[in-house]
């Protein structure tokens, strides 16, 4: 039996700009036209002020690890273990779930500085993983 494919996102009209930009190596986030809050995951309106005018802007892709876990029992065999699932807080003030790649899991710590590292998984989908900043 071959390992199943890694599950990939199925973009909706709301999230399609995010995934399209990832494929081009750019990390987008919605920014509220009214109050300036960065909103993620993609939403129809701002969580802070409820304005419905959100504009896609480019994130610098830099942040730090809020928390993480090193996974040894994979979600499915599509994921090779160990792998690191983390919550990263971007410098713009929003948080994402992601994978920390490119280093030993032992090197990942809470508070560590990270930057985005785009990882293509299919022709259509590139995942915004993160890596430790040396």
């Amino acid at each position: 039996m071959t390992a199943p494919d890694r599950p990939v996102p199925h973009p909706s009209p709301l999230t399609q700009p995010f995934w399209a930009a990832c494929r081009d190596g750019r990390l987008l986030v919605q920014r509220c036209d009214k109050c300036g809050t960065h909103v993620f995951t993609p939403q129809e309106f701002c969580r802070e002020c409820h304005a419905d005018a959100l504009t896609w802007v480019e994130s610098a892709g830099a942040g730090h690890v809020v928390t993480f876990t090193v996974v040894w029992r994979p979600q499915t065999p599509a994921f090779g273990v160990p792998y690191v699932v983390a919550v990263v807080r971007l410098d713009e003030g929003y948080e994402m779930v992601t994978n920390i790649v490119g280093s030993s899991p032992d090197a990942v710590t809470i508070g560590a500085a990270v930057r985005v590292r785009f990882t293509p998984v299919t022709d259509a989908i590139t995942l915004p993983c993160f890596e430790l900043v040396a």
Binding site: P7, P9, T69, V85, V97, I125, L127
Partner: protein, 374 residues
């Protein structure tokens, strides 16, 4: 309108096992309902309300079962059967929407691909699934942050898992009866699942069903079953599950608002509780409940659970049937098991680890809180 007092008059777990050969989610759910009604001394002819979750059929389970059981007209609850569903059903009975409600759940034959984690542990959200997140990893991240922030050594949460598993080891109805005893060191020596959770910090998986029967105190007076009173309860939410980053700051106080409401309704204090039937999906969750429910300050829960405090003979007896770690974890009906076990403790009928003279039980399942009393 005079509000009616609501009591639990039936509580039943079917046999639980890793695999129940030949059973289906519907057949174990039916067995649970029959068992709970027998316990109450009632029949389906007495039932006019249902909250039912067969397998993972989250919508329409009550409608399907009510029809299949031949009940002509019935109230239906929307909550997943568990503490919140008890609160919801009690409110419906109090309001006169119905008289006697059965809450039931059960699962068999759902988890078959053992190479993957259980289907109920694999969230499909677009910004979650692609990272290989599953339930243990989701809950591990908040625990990891807690241990880091409050400089708590892992042994202190492993101790919780050892106590729960040892409760189950003594319970002849537990799937893992006789397995143990365990120490915190044993928990830490088991293989890693999702840091900081080792295998023995996590829920097991099994099959089985559970059910409760609620009715009015007035109706219960005609029955032989010893009624257990619903004293108060509520539930709270921080947002959609498995969608947003599960940080400590988001999840830590899950259940506090509900707990405050439950104690206010019951008119009792935290000190009045004799037994704590908390949902033990992961070891650190027990610490979190004690903090969220105001039994200690934030960051002090690991000290509260130390030593013998959470043993059946201690001040804060927890998860006295062995919970999801040893008794049974079926995907959803383990939520009802917490209430079933609280009822059995208050009746003095626990299969093991009976807390002497237990009069008030606190049930908590994530953000759902329920207080029951004799």
């Amino acid at each position: 309108m005079r509000r009616r007092e609501v009591v639990v008059v039936g509580a039943h777990n079917t046999p639980q096992a890793r695999v129940l050969e030949g059973q289906t989610s519907d057949s174990v759910t039916l067995a649970a309902i029959t068992g709970a009604l027998d316990d109450a001394g009632l029949t389906t002819a007495d039932v006019d309300g249902l909250t039912v979750l067969p397998g993972l059929q989250y919508r329409g389970g009550a409608d399907a079962f009510g029809y299949a059981l031949g009940i002509p007209w019935f109230w239906t609850g929307a909550q997943v059967p568990g503490p919140a569903a008890v609160v919801e059903a009690a409110a419906a009975i109090e309001a006169g929407a119905c008289e006697t409600v059965v809450l039931a759940g059960g699962q068999a034959g759902v988890y078959t691909d053992r190479a993957a984690v259980a289907p109920w542990a694999r969230p499909a959200h677009e910004f979650i699934e692609c990272w290989g997140l599953m339930t243990p990893a989701e809950w591990a991240m908040a625990a990891q942050q807690y241990l880091h922030r409050f400089s708590v050594p892992r042994e202190k949460i492993a101790h919780v898992a050892a106590v729960i598993r040892n409760n189950g080891s003594r319970n002849p109805e537990a799937v893992y009866f006789g397995r143990g005893p365990y120490t915190a060191e044993d928990v830490l020596a088991s293989r890693m699942i999702a840091d900081p959770y080792h295998l023995l910090d996590c829920a097991t998986t099994s099959e089985g069903g559970s059910a409760l029967v609620l009715t009015t105190a007035e109706r219960a007076a005609d029955l032989d079953a010893r009624p257990v009173r619903v004293l108060g309860g509520a539930w709270d939410s921080w947002g959609p599950t498995y969608t947003h980053p599960p940080t400590y700051d988001r999840v830590a106080m899950w259940g506090r608002k509900a707990g405050d409401a439950a104690f206010a309704q019951a008119g009792i204090s935290r000190d009045d509780v004799d037994v704590f039937e908390f949902y033990d999906n992961f070891s650190w969750e027990i610490v979190r409940y004690f903090e969220a429910l105001r039994y200690c300050d934030v960051g002090e829960g690991a000290d509260l659970v130390a030593g013998d405090a959470i043993e059946a003979t201690g001040r804060y007896p927890i998860v006295t049937d062995g919970g999801t770690m040893s008794h049974s974890h079926t995907g959803e009906s383990q939520r009802l098991q917490r209430v079933v076990q609280a009822v059995r403790q208050l009746r003095g009928e626990s299969a093991a680890n009976q807390v002497a003279g237990a009069e008030i039980a606190l049930v908590a399942v994530i953000g759902e809180v329920l207080l029951l009393g004799t």
